[in-house]
Amino acid sequence: MSTPVVIFDGIEKAYGQTVALRGVSFDVNAGEIFGLLGPNGAGKSTLIRILMDIIRADKGRVLVFGEPRRRDHLDRLGYLPEERGLYTKLAVIDVMTYFGSLKGLSRPEAKRRSLAWLEKVELPHVATWKVDRLSKGMSQKVQIASILLSDPEVCVLDEPTTGLDPVNVQMVQDLLVERRRNGRTTILSTHHMNQVEELCDRVALINQGRLMVYGGVHEVRRRYSLPEILVHARGSLPQVPAVSRITDQGEGSWKILLSEGTPPHEVLAALVAAGASVDRFEPLLAPMEDIFVRVVKEGRA
């Protein structure tokens, strides 16, 4: 069983009359990539800032590594904020070394790791450059490297791939997968739902300060899916019972909407029994994108 490394328990926060969080509770397990989702202004950044002790919650508690949140936990946490930057007039290596040393690394060790991470993100040549000489993509990669070089046990990355080209997006995703392989936890706040499907183990979707969706990605997608099956077959598709609707998608592909309570394997058995030559049969899961839109729209309604 996975151990929670971060527990939000009934977090409430308001800015004057504006309520940002309303009793949000969920856990993040060790060694997972956890998707923190929600529309703009949902309260994600507030929640992250509470976790990082930048602001305080009005109510509720945050447990980190099984203990109430303490300042000395900061060395084991990393945070790449959405609104981010670097000291533009300084050399890249100096800025990275500083961020490393703030996380408890000695200056020589921080410098050594900074150089290693610049190699890793394919930017070894920019070490002595002034930050303002970097392109947007370069700067983005340097920021990510600056946060990850201390190898934090839990790292919060807020939109880490914004502004990166597909190759660099893949590079960042690989880094996150590597962290998971090494037992490190990543809380990923993103609006890119394809990334969530590809990378995240579990998600929490917040809307208007409330936790709306929480659980494993597969389980959430199944929960929000219609009882639909995608079938690839040669020739025509025979009529079978317990099917509400069949939609021909062309090129030997059909989408079948099952009747209420019909298990998919029964439909497969019926198709085969009716002489269908089935090449592919898979239950259709709702895309995260659709779930996101649906939940947010329902919240507004």
Partner: protein
């Protein structure tokens, strides 16, 4: 990672970032060079002007009653108003020649003429700076005639003074014995000064000897003010840069505001103090000649004030720095930050503005009260210790330092809260209500 290590990490970064800035290097090493160049621009023309006036000024004298008995040109000598102790000290410092050069402009030569016409012709030909006629009835009337060119003449009164001295000398010499003559001409040759302590002890107490007692608190106040003002500039700039570059959240996710504030104060304060040290070192290197002067004058070094200067300076510096940084961080830009922090600059300057009162009564009520006020304690205690350490009780020193340390701790805490509020507020300046609310939350 301990709190101190975080502070050290911030301080090291801020210090190195500040001292590597081209602006800092230019200000640190360029300012003394600029001042030297400026000095040279002013001094060179002055030197040549002074060199030109170094030739003795020749005045003619038509001595009708024969009071002066001049047989040829007479050098009237130098007319120095410099105090005796100062002259001795300058000579001990090997500055005797410089003194002579400086005083050479007062050198007058009186040339006898047998009649007015000759003197008149010489002046018209500009061979003289002027001439005096001592008329026959001089002894009775005391009146003489002075002729000068019809152009601007600044040495007229000096030349009359020189002639007056010469007349006095000649009149007395012929009538009284040499000792009496010497005393009439110069009633006080030199003064031996003594200072009496509260215990009745008699010490050497020349005015030059006590110059350090006066100079030390003044230097302390000026240095302190410069340090606070300069460092506040660096602090404001650093915070504005962090807001601008959006590194605030990364910083606050790594260290708490107290640690960041303390680190910034130490790092940027260190950079500011280093700059002042460089300037002082350069100044002292060029002014090493002063040391033998001070030694020869047997200056009275106020050791207690010197010993107290360091802890009081550092504590007061942190006190003002914390408040300035906290207040300044509430500004949305550099200009607004400086305006907000201005109130502390004025407070820091208060003892300097009250210097006249404090020097007149260093142990008066005002000075005693100000010794217990954190905003003024440091310079006032140094002034009192420097003036007369015996009038400053040990409990006053300890109490004053204690109050200052306590106020510094509170100042840093308050500064850190304001700093956090200032860093987290984006765009508009937070309202007073918001500041109070955030400060409560941060508690």
């Amino acid at each position: 990672m301990s709190s101190w290590e975080k502070i050290k990490a911030v301080a090291t970064f801020e210090f190195l970032a500040a001292v590597k800035r081209p602006g800092y290097l230019i200000a640190t090493f360029g300012m003394p060079l600029f001042m030297a160049a400026y000095g040279a621009v002013v001094a060179v023309p002055a030197y040549y002007a002074e060199k030109g006036s170094r030739a003795p000024a020749v005045y003619g004298v038509v001595d009708e009653p024969g009071v002066l008995s001049l047989s040829g040109d007479l050098d009237a000598g130098k007319h120095s108003q410099i105090p005796e102790e100062m002259r001795q000290a300058l000579e001990a410092a090997g500055q005797g020649q410089a003194l002579d050069r400086a005083l050479a402009a007062d050198n007058f030569v009186f040339r006898p003429f047998t009649n007015r016409d000759e003197a008149h012709a010489a002046l018209a030909a500009r061979r003289l700076k002027g001439y005096f006629v001592i008329p026959q009835d001089y002894m009775r009337e005391g009146t003489l005639d002075s002729y000068t060119p019809d152009s601007f003449n600044v040495s007229g009164s000096d030349s009359r003074e020189a002639l007056s001295d010469l007349l006095r000398q000649r009149l007395v010499e012929q009538r009284v014995d040499p000792a009496m003559s010497a005393r009439i001409l110069k009633p006080i040759e030199r003064t031996r000064r003594f200072a009496v302590t509260t215990t009745g002890e008699v010490r050497d107490g020349g005015s030059t000897a006590s110059i350090v007692r006066f100079a030390l608190p003044l230097i302390f106040m000026i240095l302190f003010l410069i340090s606070v003002l300069m460092t506040s500039g660096y602090l404001m700039q650093g915070t504005a840069t962090e807001k601008e570059n959006k590194v605030v959240d990364v910083l606050l996710a790594s260290a708490n505001p107290d640690q960041i504030l303390a680190g910034k104060l130490l790092g940027l304060g260190g950079a500011g103090l280093l700059q002042i040290s460089v300037w002082l070192t350069m100044l002292m290197a060029t002014g090493l000649g002063v040391v033998p002067m001070l030694v020869s004058a047997r200056v009275d070094v106020p050791w207690l004030a010197l010993a107290l200067a360091v802890p009081f300076f550092v504590t007061a510096f942190l006190f003002f720095g914390g408040l300035m940084l906290g207040t300044g961080s509430l500004g949305t830009n550099m200009r607004e930050a400086q305006q907000l922090a201005m109130v502390w600059s004025l407070t820091a300057a208060a003892p300097l503005m009250m210097m006249a009162v404090l020097i007149r009564e260093p142990n008066g009520t005002a000075a005693k009260v100000m010794s217990w006020v954190p905003f003024t304690a440091a310079p006032v205690v140094i002034l009192r210790a420097s003036n007369d350490a015996s009038q400053l009780a040990w409990w006053e020193i300890a109490g004053s330092l204690g109050v200052l340390v306590l106020a510094t701790w509170v100042g840093l805490r308050v500064g850190a809260r304001l700093f956090r509020i200032g860093l987290l507020s984006a765009g508009a300046r937070p309202t007073l209500r918001e500041i109070v609310r955030q400060a409560r939350l941060a508690a």
